[in-house]
Amino acid sequence: MTIDVAAAGPDRPIERLGDLLGSRKVVVLAGPGGVGKTSSAAAIAVGAALSGIRTCVVTIDPAKRLADALGIEHIGNDPVEIDAVGAGKLWAVMLDADATFDDLVVRYAKTEDQAGRILSNRVYQNLTRNLSGVQEYMAMEKLFELHNDRRFELLVVDTPPSANALDFLDAPRRLVSFLDNRVFRLIMSPGPAILRPVSFAARAVLKTISRVVGAEVVDEAVAFFQDFEGMEDGFRERAQSVQALLHEDATAFVLVSAPRGDTVTEALSFGEKLSGFGFAVAGVISNRHTPAFATGSRSAELETELEPLDRDELEANLARMELLRNSEESELIRLVADLEPPRVARVPLLDRDIASIEDLAQMARSLL
């Protein structure tokens, strides 16, 4: 299949992204940093709500004005209903990844004591920040929970920006294998936690590691793994359910990009990774396109209103924009030719920052 983007016209996508909304329950937006994923997610959600779909948008760290536009003030894991979206219903939630992980620990711990020990362990606190993809995975985890919430017909999920932004797809596996590590299994033979004898071989390894990192650090790591014992199963099952949800037909992945060389290259590698995990790219959003202006000759009125100096400056700027627009077109073609997505939305750059639901609705019109 060849897609002639140029023939599709400035704001007329091949198949409309909006068509996705009726048939899907979950739309996941992924893409490189700085391309407007969060505002795209918010705009899709506003557009869906306006068309009468009960929608919840899951965002991570939105810009202040965007959060204000959505009317969400605080980070927290409970969806907040947003007023003033016409007839539709819209909720938004600003994800707190740390709290989500903490909730899981509390859920799978056998006792309150066990949960308390884990939550205060510095190795655990570090894990939530440093295990690559954990934050992203927690977004998926939250998604799973919201998916079971009857209030919502559609969930729109923004994935956090990170160097390896698709880590969330692999994170459940990585998390489980981290918790399962056999070296630490060796350390933990059966018996009451406090009296547990550590095997001789494991002791030797630990002793050497202690020489490098100091004994307290090792003690804390061992304590963490001992406390976590028995909880892996819960985590594994949960991870499998999340994976299953992502693979359902009702879940769509949309790749967000911008028409710049390095961004398109990054987006293409995202696309490759997605298909590596067995996901199809249901659509592409190419954001922040320099708009095309139909620039006929200057009217006499315009001639009289502008100083020649101002006019020359504006003309020079327009000419540069036209050049830029041409190279953006070739970048979009490069992106689409390689990914062959069924839907492409080209979103023009706005001349202002998004500050209201109306701005989001406007963006939604070119998106959907």
Binding site: N130, V217, P259, T265, L302
Partner: protein, 310 residues
Amino acid sequence: MAGKPPLKEAIESTSLLIVAGKGGVGKSTISAAAAIAAAGLGRRTALVGLAHSRPATELLQALGEEAPIMAAISPKLRIFELRPEEILIEYLEDHGMASLGRRLISTGVVSVVSTAIPGIRELLVLAKLKQMERSGEFDSIILDAPASGHLLTFLSSPKGLADIANVGLLRSQADDVQALLTDPSRSKLVLVTLAEETPVSETSQTYAQVEDQGAIALGPVVVNALQAPIRLSPQARKALASLAERDDRADAYRFVAAKAHLQEENLAELRRRLPGCRMARVPFIFSTGLGVEELAGLAEHLLSEVSDDH
């Protein structure tokens, strides 16, 4: 004070520059351009990327090109990509623990340890940079750092580790790295941003947090991808707004002017939030791909741009 170009000054006065910023602001591009600039000044330069945030492949390829423009620069410039696990193994070997190193690899415990122990991955990278700095092989080391969301974790790792590890080899490493980061003649942070809402607010926040924690000395802030300003009279602006409805060209002008105005507002906001901070302005490159020519052009700009701080 219209002083020396801010980035040139930072390059010449500091051995390690940590270049950081939000995703999409052109951090890797500025790192590469700064490295070319340093090499162009005759300094033996290392451009360092991390496995998780390495300079874009395109940039590396561009730098590897045998372009005439690079002839004088290439001999002075080396490119590294650091991986914490490899540094750990190398470190253990250097300290007579080669067999432990092999054992750690074969049991897969390296990744577990490096994930579980707070700050160890970051510390390993910083320790390696410290070693490079102390080796005397380089006059300038430019690090393309992790995205700013992870920057503070990265910079505070030696302190955090020193707090919990009282003894051991890593403790002494942590102390050495801390000494490197707190000496402004040895290291500085260069934040890269755009004159857009989110990058401006994130950069200001990061700047303030780094300053509060005294994590590292702050160098100039690089404002990337600036378009030429358009300063219309209020009267002209008004005329455009009223004509835009029925005149396409006026509408185009209005858009261009509004974008330029937004950029000025965001720049003013950045200045307001970071008073006294030196800023290096980098022009927008009207090209979607960045080859070695463009990078060399940026490098030249970084060396010549005179700061307009007050």
